[in-house]
Subunit: 223 residues, 4 copies
């Protein structure tokens, strides 16, 4: 191995296997931990008491499911994009750690929202501000990761489709913008704010590849 | 890489490595977390006190073991089937996340059942209804994953044995049906219901491959 | 792929990657979770109060370190042996899940022992009985895994050194026997029992490969 | 496989995949677990009450972020170095377990520091002593791992750049020395001590590869 090859290898890390393994671990733990919050009603004296205890903790079920789905969506997009990455470098690894720090903290604002979803006063407003704020920051970190990686095709394949990069970037930018709007809307009406952030989240559940495939077929037919 | 190849690659994801890594993480955490519920009796003043404290929490031991075995069975079947998968697509990843959401929540109804296993009144009935209900929903999600993957051999090898697909599907359908029956039986008699769901679970512990091999040898001998 | 090849493939699973991933997950979580038991003394009014609170929970530090080392030893032997495995089958996967169930529960008896290590009466005897009992059962499960895998070279390379198998089996059998003796000794004297089980555990920390290499060099020199 | 080849294979383990998987698991869990300490304020009667409850637990946010970043740095350096490892041996695996034991315990002194960061008396001194002491011990274990692996190129590529080894060793030795100084400084002034340990930690966030590349280019230009 020549000194030049060695230096190039030091600078960038071929492959993303361990980065993905660490990320998968953080996602899996963050998604699963909230299940521990569901408490078994112990020493109940009647069936009625059990039913009441189980129903009383409904905000926990809601926040568990919301967190799991939310983390699941992030994980699937992380998974989706990393297929196109060929290497990592120092800053990208640090950005990915920052992103994971936010991801692992997501169950907390979600639980807060779940707790105050039933009231319709300033408590819901606070919960919605914290929640949409965190969504916005996390989405920014994710977009940051993507833009850093594709800028001048830094970490991706050198021939990655330009059109694909542009479209994907545009789509991922919708998230932070929508969450920022939702954050501001929370000051006016928390319910409207939550509907907007829900729609934004749902958008990331859609099978983009199929849309894109449809586009391409259309264009291919047109040409 | 031509545009057409790229589009095809976008649509489906070759390999299932990360999906399996994420799933393995969720399974491992869900199975292990319940061990944290076993509390060390602190500051006991006599051996008698320790023994009593240790025996008093027997429902925790039972639910730990039940959860671990149950999650272990699901993991081993997940492992068993994914060997035949060659790719994933958008909807499959989402279905897998939904399945994991249910899997990670399984320790909760199991702990509920463990707690009220010793009483024989309506409290056991409620616990059994929650437990068999969750088993049924989880089994449905698992069957759904399999059927989605093998329908027109969507995600499996294009020449995967038809007979194997039909038989496996039939065997996995037994689970949801048995748990649905157990759910209804819980209204009549919780103990009978639990025996039925136990038999259904045991069925998935069996070495199907060996049965199947026996079948095949028989048929080969016959022809 | 012929039907015969397919059936053979169904019967045994090539590779042990996912089994190892799932096991690594369980080991990592079980080893790490106990760290959560170390509680930060909150709202202390003086440095003295913090020092007292920190020292008061010394049994937690002891049991954390013991559990981590113990699980680390098991993990390293799991890792050591699985290098020689080429495939898994139905029963082996189930045995491995049973072994992991015991492994993930190890922090519990360890914490119990840590708590009563300072007293020298029947409370220590109970803790020692539970601890050595669990060690013995876990060691039996581990030996069972190994014997099942090497019996008629079921899951290992077909030409795996016979002498290596015999020696390794013998060495792994020392564990269950030593822990069983320690269990019985606990009835007489818990301290002697703990020393015996500690020596047995230390034995698995040794670099056997080097011994064996020394043996082999000796024999090679002799012949 | 000849007996000699087999013995050589026993002595050292080719590849570090499972060691990395186990380590990734421990890092991911240790980093994520602290997020569970953020408690949702339940049943608050006003928005004011929620804000107060959320702000009251700011030391938890600080220690979560500190732990996550700290563990992230260790993980990234673990990742960075293991790229150069080709095999493991008995003692290295044991040293790695010891290192992980310390890593998984890091959130505890971090939470202690977070709790007493606001006071400026002996309580902060104690917290700083525990914190810098743990940082020092952990950094020593990490350097130990590296030195063990590169000594006579024991576990790394046989032609790994000598200059790179020397420089990397020197850089990793800065950590333990800086933390030891910080530990002693804590006796005099905890704030100065924390600034020193913060600078040392920041040093490991830097993109060394780029520095090194710059060095090399310079030297190449000079020659």
């Amino acid at each position: 191995m020549t000194r030049k090859t060695f230096l190039r290898r030091l600078e960038t890390h071929e492959g993303t296997a361990r980065l993905e393994a660490f990320s998968d671990g953080v996602f899996a733990i963050a998604a699963t931990l909230l299940a521990m919050e569901m408490k078994t009603p112990r020493n109940a004296h009647s069936a009625q008491e059990i039913i009441e205890a189980l129903t009383r903790q409904w905000p926990i079920y809601v926040s568990y499911a919301m967190s799991f789905v939310y983390l699941g969506i992030y994980w699937s997009h992380h998974h989706r994009l990393y297929r196109f990455f060929r290497r990592t470098d120092h800053l990208f690894i640090k950005l990915n750690i920052l992103f994971l720090l936010l991801v692992a903290a997501l169950p907390f604002p979600t639980a807060l929202l779940g707790e105050y979803l039933r009231v319709h006063d300033d408590r819901l407003r606070i919960a919605t501000l914290v929640y949409t704020g965190m969504l916005c920051v996390t989405a920014c970190a994710f977009v940051g990761l993507w833009i850093y990686a594709v800028h001048e095709r830094r970490l991706v394949e050198h021939d990655l489709d330009r059109d694909f990069i542009v479209r994907t970037t545009r789509r991922y930018l919708i998230g932070p913008v929508a969450y920022a709007i939702a954050f501001l809307l929370a000051l006016v009406d928390p319910v409207v704010s939550l509907v907007v952030s829900l729609i934004a989240a749902m958008f990331y559940l859609l099978p983009w590849e199929l849309f894109r495939f449809a586009d391409a077929v259309e264009r291919a037919d047109a040409s």
